[in-house]
């Protein structure tokens, strides 16, 4: 029995770490611009697909990965420059439509640049399962958890200790005041998109050896990452991570103990519950409505 539980928890943590990275991407963009980037899932896809292409072309993984991350970051910057910036100041609905349009566009481009098939990526350090508490975990899962942990620490240092990071935080609290203090808000916006895209790409590369990648992996991952961000509290980095891990575990336990057919619905039922009873999520700040 407890071996089963251990298995559910380990699988849940692995997929939860991926949700956490995607949710972090949402949080960073939201903090800088109050835009929900529905194309976040597509960065995950780009990271995975570009690495696969480069790896197939013969590039060794340690080189392919950084290039893929940079490629995704470039797409993120382009998205901000050409789709979000021209519509600055527009209403919530408008911005939502723009980013959804961007995600559709990116997926369409993916089918043209690559193809409609699934692609595997070589696991970083082999795929002999490791026994842990009666359950098994793949070495790749350890990579996922380890890298996510490292990234969270890195981001904490970035936002807490570097000037650029603090500038980004300042923009999220009050853009006008930040601008008055000399922060280049436009640059912060661009950086936030680039950074989120990089995070998404890392998630995509980490998970591709386990779950395969294709032109449309971004859709569900994006939606669930968004759900995790809301669960943790939109705009809170710690919340995004906590939300992601909790969501992953909840899904795994739900599938194991309740109903495997309704596994996908679990994420969205949780979201509705959170939104109805606790809209600012676990760690979010209660926003005051300005008259």
């Amino acid at each position: 029995m407890s071996a089963q539980l251990a298995q559910y928890l380990l699988s849940g943590l692995t997929v939860g770490a991926i949700y956490a990275l995607v949710a972090l991407g949402f949080a960073i963009i939201y903090n800088a611009s109050h835009v929900i980037n529905f194309a976040q899932g597509e960065f995950v896809m780009i990271g995975g697909m570009v690495s696969v292409s480069l790896a197939n072309a013969g590039l060794p993984l340690p080189l392919a990965i950084p290039v893929a991350v940079l490629a995704a970051a470039a797409v993120g910057l382009a998205l901000e420059k050409f789709a979000v910036e021209p519509a600055r100041g527009a209403s919530v609905v408008t911005l939502i439509i723009i980013t959804i349009g961007a995600s559709i566009l990116l997926r369409g481009l993916a089918t043209l640049v690559w193809d409609k098939n699934l692609h595997p990526l070589r696991p970083f350090s082999g795929d002999r399962p490791i026994e842990l508490a009666g359950a098994t975990i793949l070495p790749q899962s350890l990579w996922v958890l380890g890298v996510t942990f490292a990234i969270v620490l890195l981001l904490g240092w970035f936002f807490g200790r570097t000037l650029t990071g603090k500038a980004m935080l300042a923009t999220s609290y009050n853009p006008l005041a930040a601008r008055l203090c000399g922060v280049n808000v436009r640059f912060v916006l661009l950086l936030s998109f680039g950074l989120s895209a990089a995070l998404g790409a890392v998630a995509g590369i980490l998970i591709a050896p386990i779950t395969l990648t294709s032109w449309d992996v971004g859709v569900m991952l994006g939606l669930k990452g968004f759900a995790a961000a809301i669960l943790g509290g939109l705009g809170s980095g710690a919340g995004a991570v906590a939300g992601g891990l909790l969501l992953g575990i909840a899904e795994s336990l739900g599938a194991g103990y309740v109903s495997s057919a309704y596994k996908d619905a679990i994420a969205f039922v949780i979201i509705l519950a959170v939104l109805f009873f606790m809209p600012s999520g676990l760690f979010g700040k209660k926003s005051a409505e300005r008259v």
């Binding site: 298995q7 409609k116 692609h119 795929d127 098994t136 992996v217 569900m220 495997s260 057919a261």
Partner: protein, 379 residues
């Protein structure tokens, strides 16, 4: 005066006759070239294009060229209906080959029945031809046949109770329902029945449950698309240790590539197409499958797929029916289709009849196993 009139009349008739003779034979198609079912529609589209081209290069049919009019229904049943209507009413085609998925096919059935249009479907579920519909035919093996073939192999290995895992797609659900229905007839007991969602990336929870169910001697994954590859990898990761069977939906080299080493030892029912080169020379299908396999690979530089093979069979059956009826009269084409016997396709030897609009039986399915990264025939 009268001779001039007669002469010009004769000339006009001759010209008209020649004009009609130049009119191409129109083959209509609606396929899921993009969207979630793209790996069905893409090889189907390519196959139809390739062979219409080849047939035209060889002089066409009945002295007329073939024209392929094909639309992308993207896996959407409503789009499929609209495009089928377009093919019937606007493009006025002579026969339709298409319908990559069961949902799209079933949505179109009322249309072709009402319009009297011969329709050869490329989708898998048994409901398409059972009950038999006058104008609807199909080339792929049914999911029920897949279950039967698998159960036969299980009995041969003395397996009596199994675990079942399937996805959320139409193919998965349909095959699961058929397997549950026919299992008792083969004395197979299904003691665990789990499901996963469409975009799921981890099935260890469901497989752990199956592993923990007592009496499981084998696991059957009635799945299609990305799911089965992940199930296979998770299966190995959890070291469940019993035989794993997959469905004919993943009968492709692609699957082995995706599942990697985990695929070793996996069995599934498939058309002879997958093992074309290793078939014994005496095998009736060898010539056709080797021919298709080589031509497709040479042109498109990618592995041959059973779905492309179904499209090949569909087109060839349609063309054969047109040849036999020596016209493009739809009723004539339909009866000609029904009377086809002993036609050798990529899926098997086809024997149609008024009561059987698919023409294949369980022997058309071969049992294959993954061995050293390749498909081999199980004796």
């Amino acid at each position: 005066m009268r001779i001039k009139l007669l002469a010009s009349l004769a000339a006009a008739l001759f010209a008209a006759g020649a004009a009609i003779a130049q009119q191409p034979i129109k083959i209509g198609a609606f396929l899921s070239v993009t969207g979630g079912a793209a790996f069905l529609g893409d090889p189907e589209q390519k196959t139809l294009e390739l062979y219409v081209e080849k047939l035209n290069a060889a002089g066409g049919i009945l002295g007329r060229k073939l024209q392929l009019i094909s639309y992308d229904s993207a896996g959407d049943a409503e789009k499929a209906r609209t495009f089928a209507k377009r093919l019937i009413e606007q493009d006025k085609v002579d026969v339709i080959v298409g319908g990559s998925t069961t949902g799209e096919t079933m949505a179109v059935v009322p249309l072709v029945e009402a319009a009297g249009m011969p329709f050869i479907s490329l989708a898998g579920a048994v409901v398409i031809i059972e009950p038999v519909k006058k104008w609807v035919f199909k080339t792929p093996h049914t999911d029920r046949m897949a279950c039967e073939r698998i159960f036969l192999d299980m009995r041969a290995r003395k397996i009596e109770s199994i675990g079942l895992i399937s996805g959320a797609g139409g193919f998965d659900k349909s095959m699961r329902a058929e397997c549950l229905k026919v299992a008792p007839a083969y004395k197979i007991q299904i003691v665990a029945d789990e499901a996963y969602g469409g975009g799921d990336t981890d099935m260890t929870a469901q497989l752990t449950k199956i592993k923990g169910t007592p009496g499981v001697q084998a696991v059957l994954n009635a799945g299609f698309g990305a799911g089965p590859a992940i199930v296979t990898k998770n299966f190995r990761q959890l070291a469940i240790g019993v035989p794993l069977y997959q469905s004919h939906g993943v009968a492709s080299k692609e699957f082995i590539k995706l599942a990697g080493d985990a695929a070793e030892g996996v069995r599934l029912p498939a058309a002879a197409l997958l093992v074309a080169e290793t078939l014994p020379d005496a095998d009736p299908q060898k010539k056709v499958v080797v021919g298709y396999s080589r031509e497709y690979t040479a042109r498109f530089k990618s592995d041959v797929s059973t779905f492309g093979g179904h499209a090949y069979d569909g087109l060839m059956l349609a063309v054969e029916a047109i040849r036999r009826s020596a016209s493009t009269n739809k009723e004539a084409i339909r009866s000609a289709l029904e009377s086809i016997h002993g036609y050798v396709g990529t899926g098997g030897v086809v024997n149609m009849s008024a009561g059987d609009h698919m023409g294949l039986d369980v022997s058309a399915f071969r049992m294959l196993e993954v061995s050293k990264g390749n498909w081999v025939l199980v004796k």
